[in-house]
C-alpha cells in the first residue's frame, strides 16, 4: 500500500510538471463547456418554438435532454483524451531506463501498476470535477433528476476505468509515447465503431457486436438506469486490461 502510494504520488506530480496535464485539462474543459453551452441553447430554442406553436403541447424536460446529450458528447471527447493520460505511463519509464529502477526495487509489479492506474484515474476524476462545475449550473436554474446525473457520471467513470486500463496495457508495449497514444486511440475507436457494424449484422453476430461496443453500454447509465450487466461489462473490461498489463510487465523481465 505504501509503495503504491509512493508511485501514485510521483505519477501525479509528473502529470502536473509536464504540459500534458494542463493541455488535456484545458482542452477537455473548453470542449465540455462549449458543448454544454451549445446543447443548452439548442434545447431552449426548440422548446420556445414548440411553445409558440401550441400552448397545449407536452411539457419538455429541458435538464433531462441537456444532461443526456451532454454525457453523450463527453464520452466522445474522452475517447480522444484518455489515450493521452495513459500514453506515457510505462512507455516513458521504458525509454528513460527508470523501468530498471522500478523492477530492481523492492516493489511488486502489482504495486507499480496500481499506483499508475490510480493516478490516471485520479486525473480523470479531476477532469469530471471540472466539467461538473459547468454542469451544476443546471441545478441553479432547473431541477434535473439526481439519478440521471449520478448515473451519467457513474457510467462515464466506469467507461473511463475500462479505457484507462486498456491504455495502460498498450503503454507497456512500446517505449514511444506517440506509438502508444495512436494504438490506444485506434483500438478504442474500433471498439466504439463496432456499434455501427452491428446494425448490418443479424442474429447472434449482432448480439455479440452489440455487447462488445464500448459506447453502447453507456446509454442506460445516461438515462439514469444502473443495470448490473453494464457495470459488469466495464469492470470486466478494466480487469482484463489490468491483467494484460500485469502479464506484459512480467514478461518484460523475460524479454529484456
Amino acid at each position: 500500500m505504501r509503495n503504491t502510494l509512493a508511485i501514485w504520488q510521483r505519477e501525479m506530480k509528473s502529470y502536473f510538471v509536464s504540459p500534458i496535464a494542463y493541455v488535456v485539462l484545458t482542452v477537455f474543459l473548453f470542449l465540455s463547456g462549449f458543448f454544454f453551452y451549445s446543447i443548452l441553447t439548442a434545447v431552449i430554442q426548440s422548446t420556445m418554438m414548440q411553445s409558440q406553436f401550441g400552448p397545449g403541447s407536452q411539457p419538455v424536460d429541458v435538464p433531462g435532454i441537456v444532461s443526456r446529450s451532454f454525457f453523450g458528447t463527453t464520452s466522445v471527447v474522452l475517447l480522444f483524451m484518455i489515450p493521452m493520460l495513459t500514453m506515457g505511463l510505462f512507455a516513458e519509464e521504458k525509454r528513460r531506463g527508470t523501468m530498471e529502477l522500478l523492477l530492481t526495487s523492492p516493489v511488486s509489479i502489482l504495486q507499480v501498476m496500481m499506483g499508475k492506474y490510480l493516478a490516471s484515474l485520479t486525473f480523470l476524476v479531476l477532469m469530471f470535477l471540472g466539467s461538473g462545475i459547468t454542469f451544476s449550473s443546471l441545478f441553479i436554474f432547473g431541477h434535473p433528476e439526481w439519478k440521471t446525473v449520478l448515473g451519467g457520471y457513474l457510467g462515464l467513470l466506469l467507461y473511463g476505468c475500462a479505457l484507462l486500463a486498456l491504455g495502460l496495457f498498450i503503454s507497456t508495449l512500446t517505449e514511444n509515447q506517440i506509438v502508444s497514444v495512436v494504438i490506444t486511440f485506434g483500438t478504442i475507436l474500433v471498439l466504439w465503431l463496432i456499434e455501427s457494424f452491428s446494425s448490418g449484422a443479424t442474429g447472434v453476430a449482432k448480439d455479440v457486436l452489440d455487447y462488445l461496443s464500448v459506447i453502447g453500454h453507456l446509454d442506460d447509465f445516461i438515462k439514469g438506469v444502473i443495470d448490473t450487466s453494464h457495470v459488469i461489462y466495464y469492470v470486466t473490461f478494466a480487469l482484463m486490461g489490468l491483467f494484460l498489463t500485469y502479464r506484459s510487465l512480467e514478461s518484460l523481465r523475460w524479454k529484456s
Binding site: A6, T98, L103, S105
Partner: protein, 311 residues
C-alpha cells in the same frame, strides 16, 4: 555474500553470458573487467533481479535472485549503466521517491537523504531539476540513489563514466570507503580503476570468465618470467655473452651502437632475483652500470593478453 554458479544467459540464440561462476565475500570490492559487450551488464542485471538467467543460480546474501527476488531487491543498491533518473523531478524529490519505494521509514528519510547527498557531494543541487544537471551530477545522483537505504550489496555498472578527473577520484574513494560495511561489485573498462579500488578482479570476455584473482596476483600470473632491464656502458655483444653466463639467466637481448651505452633486457628464471648478481657481473668487467630495474607487468598487459588470446 554473493555466490554465482554456472550462470548462462541466452539472448535470441546468442550466449551473452556463458557458465560464469564466482563468489564475493562480505565487505569485498569485486571489479568486473571486460571490453564492451563482454557480458558485464547482463551479469549485473541478473544479480539485481532485473532479468532471469537461462541456466545456473545466483544467490545474494543467501537468497536466490529468482526464487526470493524480493528479499534480494531489499538488500541491493543498483546503479545501471544509464542512471535511472526522472528528468522532470528535483534531485531531492527524486531521492525521496527512491527512499520511499526502498522502504526507508518516514522518520529517518530526511536525514538519510541528506547523508547520502553529502557523501556523493550533490548537496548544492538538491533543489535543481535533474534534466538540467550536467552529466557528472546526473551520474552522482545515480550513485546516491544506489546508496539509499544502506544496502548490504552495491552493484555499480560503470560508476565513474562521464565524470571529470576530480569527481572520478571522489567517487573511487567513496567506493573504497564503502567496502567493509558493504559488498561492492563494480564494472568498468578502465584498468587503473580496478587496481586502485578492487580487492579482486574478474575479467570476462565474450561472456566467459577468462581470469579471476587479485590485481597483483593477475599481474604475477602473467609474468611467466622475471625480467630485468639494464643500461650498461660497454659493447653490446660482450655484455650479452657475459650476462648469459650468469646462473639462472634464460635469455639476454642487448642492443647498442659502439660508443653509446647498450640497452639490455635479461630474462631470468621465475621467482629468482638476480639483480645483485647481474650488477656484480657488469661492474666486475669494468663496465659502467648506468641503470638497473625490474620490469613489472601491468594490468593492462594482462588484460590485452587475455582478451587477445581468447580471440
Amino acid at each position: 555474500m554473493i555466490e554465482v554458479e554456472h550462470l548462462t544467459k541466452v539472448y535470441n540464440g546468442r550466449k551473452a553470458v556463458e557458465d560464469i561462476s564466482f563468489r564475493v565475500e562480505k565487505g569485498e570490492i569485486l571489479g568486473f573487467l571486460g571490453p564492451n559487450g563482454a557480458g558485464k551488464t547482463t551479469t549485473m542485471r541478473i544479480l539485481t533481479c532485473y532479468m532471469p538467467a537461462t541456466e545456473g543460480t545466483a544467490r545474494v546474501a543467501g537468497y536466490d535472485v529468482f526464487e526470493e527476488s524480493l528479499e534480494v531487491r531489499k538488500r541491493i543498491g543498483y546503479l545501471p549503466e544509464n542512471p535511472p533518473l526522472y528528468h522532470e523531478m528535483t534531485v531531492y524529490s527524486y531521492l525521496d521517491f527512491v527512499a520511499r519505494i526502498k522502504g526507508t521509514p518516514p522518520s529517518k528519510r530526511k536525514s538519510h537523504i541528506d547523508d547520502v547527498m553529502q557523501r556523493t557531494n550533490i548537496g548544492d543541487v538538491r533543489g535543481r531539476v535533474i534534466g538540467r544537471l550536467s552529466k557528472g551530477y546526473k551520474q552522482r545522483v545515480g550513485v546516491a540513489q544506489a546508496l539509499l537505504n544502506n544496502p548490504e550489496v552495491l552493484v555499480l555498472d560503470e560508476p565513474t563514466i562521464g565524470l571529470d578527473p576530480k569527481q572520478i577520484f571522489e567517487v573511487r574513494s567513496l567506493i573504497k570507503h564503502l567496502a567493509g560495511d558493504h559488498t561492492v561489485i563494480l564494472s568498468t573498462h578502465i584498468l587503473p580503476e580496478v587496481s586502485m579500488t578492487c580487492n579482486r578482479v574478474v575479467i570476462i570476455n565474450n561472456g566467459k570468465v577468462v581470469a579471476m584473482d587479485t590485481p597483483e596476483g593477475l599481474a604475477n600470473q602473467m609474468k611467466g618470467a622475471e625480467r630485468v632491464a639494464l643500461l650498461v656502458d660497454g659493447p653490446a655483444e660482450a655484455v650479452r655473452e657475459k650476462l648469459l653466463a650468469v646462473e639462472g639467466v634464460l635469455d639476454v637481448k642487448a642492443e647498442g651502437i659502439d660508443g653509446s651505452p647498450s640497452k639490455v633486457t635479461v630474462e631470468c628464471r621465475l621467482n629468482t632475483d638476480l639483480r645483485r648478481t647481474l650488477a656484480a657481473a657488469v661492474v666486475n668487467q669494468g663496465w659502467g652500470l648506468l641503470e638497473l630495474r625490474g620490469i613489472s607487468v601491468s594490468l593492462e598487459d594482462v588484460f590485452i593478453n587475455l582478451i587477445t588470446k581468447e580471440e
